[in-house]
């Protein structure tokens, strides 16, 4: 599923969920006996009315929750590799042959700065010669 569907799906799910909540509230207020009828109700039945929610409201709730979940999952960022080799291969290519252990081969503590300077000076000279 393409990721651009994530936001509309989540918003739609939230709308349905709030609609389901409102419906459930309405349903319960309609069922609550009004003050006038309470005397009649208490005489006819001793227990308070505990009618279950109609099927369509339950279905709407479940479907909307599923829609929100799917929307959030689809819109998540690309997952990071959890396998060492995949991660290592990615790091190796992204840093152009670097990686966290490259420092062991560069060894900055032991750098021979005079050789590096000479190498750089030679390189500059070569570049100049190439230009000419």
């Amino acid at each position: 599923m393409p990721s651009y569907l994530s936001r509309p799906l989540t918003v739609l799910g939230l709308l349905f969920l709030s609609h389901a909540c409102y419906s459930a509230y309405e349903h319960s207020t309609l069922l609550t006996p009004s003050p006038q009828s309470s005397t009649i109700a208490s005489t006819s039945t001793s227990s308070p009315p505990t009618a279950s929610l109609p099927l369509d409201i339950s279905l709407e709730t479940i479907i909307s929750v599923i829609m929100i979940c799917v929307g959030l999952v689809v819109g998540a960022e690309e997952l990071k590799p959890i396998m060492w080799r995949v991660w290592a291969g990615k790091v190796e290519r992204e840093s152009g042959g670097g990686g966290p252990f490259q420092g062991l081969e560069d060894r900055l503590g032991f750098v021979d700065i005079r050789a590096k300077r000479k190498e750089f000076a030679d390189w500059v000279r070569d570049q100049d010669n190439d230009k000419k």
Binding site: A88, G89, E92, G97, D106, R107, G109, D112, R114
Partner: protein, 322 residues
């Protein structure tokens, strides 16, 4: 081996980094030098900043921009004090770089000796001293000093790898291999060290006498396999695997049964791989190398390494056709 690169930054990258240094230093002048606490608030001090100064110092020294390098080292001294071990090492680095002749270098070496006499566990300075000895072509002295350093800090993997390189420069292969194995004890998943060990084993197996040492070659092959196992599409590992299996196939064209029986004795050694396994690994490495060299442009491989791999492939196809 052609694939082991010693420099991460190329010369051009170092140049561009050091060219930005003046600008960078001006931007951050108020840090450290200012005594007004407001400066502290406006420039929050971070570890990266000082690491950046270290990097700048190195690339400035490399490109010969001594003035900027001096600024960097002054800032580091202002912040951490001249007696900080790391700063002492960096200061030594600066002095080495600007030293004019061998006499000056000798004085610096003497200074290092004095510092170490006072504080024998000053690792950065000890490392500088070893590097300077090596730079003065006194490799045996450097090896002695390095083994001494490792006596006191046996988990310093940077020192172990350096020692391995020093031994390698003296063609002392068993010692070099031992050092790299020590490194792998500390960082068992460092794929480049596995590949490096494979390279050293390969060189030691092929450089000695004319007949290649089969057991060492098989060990090198295993190391390359491990480096590939640890890192997907690892060009250096496949390159080494191809070279070792080529060599194994040409040296032992038909050892499937006989060698297997001889080697599988009870002294804890692994048996020689069968020819079929080696051949399959060789085919795998060849196909993988071909795949990597084909789609090189869109992925971040080192250009020189890819060219080398291409050459190896061309060479092996030529010999096969003949």
């Amino acid at each position: 081996m052609s694939l082991s690169s010693s420099l991460r930054h190329s010369n051009s990258e170092a140049l561009s980094l050091s060219q930005q240094s003046t600008q960078y230093l001006q931007k951050h002048t108020s840090t450290g030098t200012s005594t007004i606490p407001i400066a502290f608030i406006s420039y929050p001090e971070s570890t990266e900043l000082w690491l950046m100064y270290e990097k700048l110092l190195l690339s400035c020294l490399r490109t010969g921009d001594d003035k900027a390098a001096h600024l960097c080292i002054e800032k580091l001294i202002d912040r951490f004090g001249a007696t900080n071990e790391r700063v002492m090492g960096l200061r030594g680095l600066y002095q080495e770089a600007v030293a004019k002749d061998d006499a000056a270098l000798g004085r610096i070496l003497h200074e290092y000796d004095e510092v170490l006499a006072e504080d024998p566990v000053n690792t950065p300075v000890a490392k500088r001293r070893i590097a300077l000895l090596q730079s003065l072509s006194r490799t045996t002295d450097a090896i002695d000093a390095l083994t001494e350093l490792l006596e006191s800090s046996p988990t310093d993997i940077e020192a172990w790898t350096e020692l391995s390189d020093l031994y390698l420069s003296q063609s002392l292969f068993p010692q070099a291999i031992f050092c790299l194995e020590e490194v792998l004890l500390v960082v068992p998943s460092a794929w480049n060290i596995h590949a490096r060990l494979g390279e050293v084993l390969y060189v030691s197996a092929t450089s000695g006498n004319e007949s290649a040492d089969g057991k060492t070659l098989a060990e090198a092959m295993r190391r390359f396999c491990r480096s590939i196992e640890l890192c997907d599409d690892y060009l250096r590992g496949y390159y080494g695997l191809k070279m070792t299996t080529d060599r194994l196939l040409s040296a032992f064209p038909d050892n499937s049964k006989a060698a297997g029986q001889i080697m599988s004795t009870d002294n804890g050694e692994l048996p020689m791989p069968s020819t079929a396994t080696v051949r399959r690994l060789n085919e795998k490495a060849t196909s993988k190398l071909a795949e990597i060299t084909r789609r090189t442009t869109d992925r971040g491989y080192n250009y020189a390494e890819v060219v080398a791999a291409k050459e190896l492939l061309d060479k092996s196809t030529q010999t096969k056709q003949r």
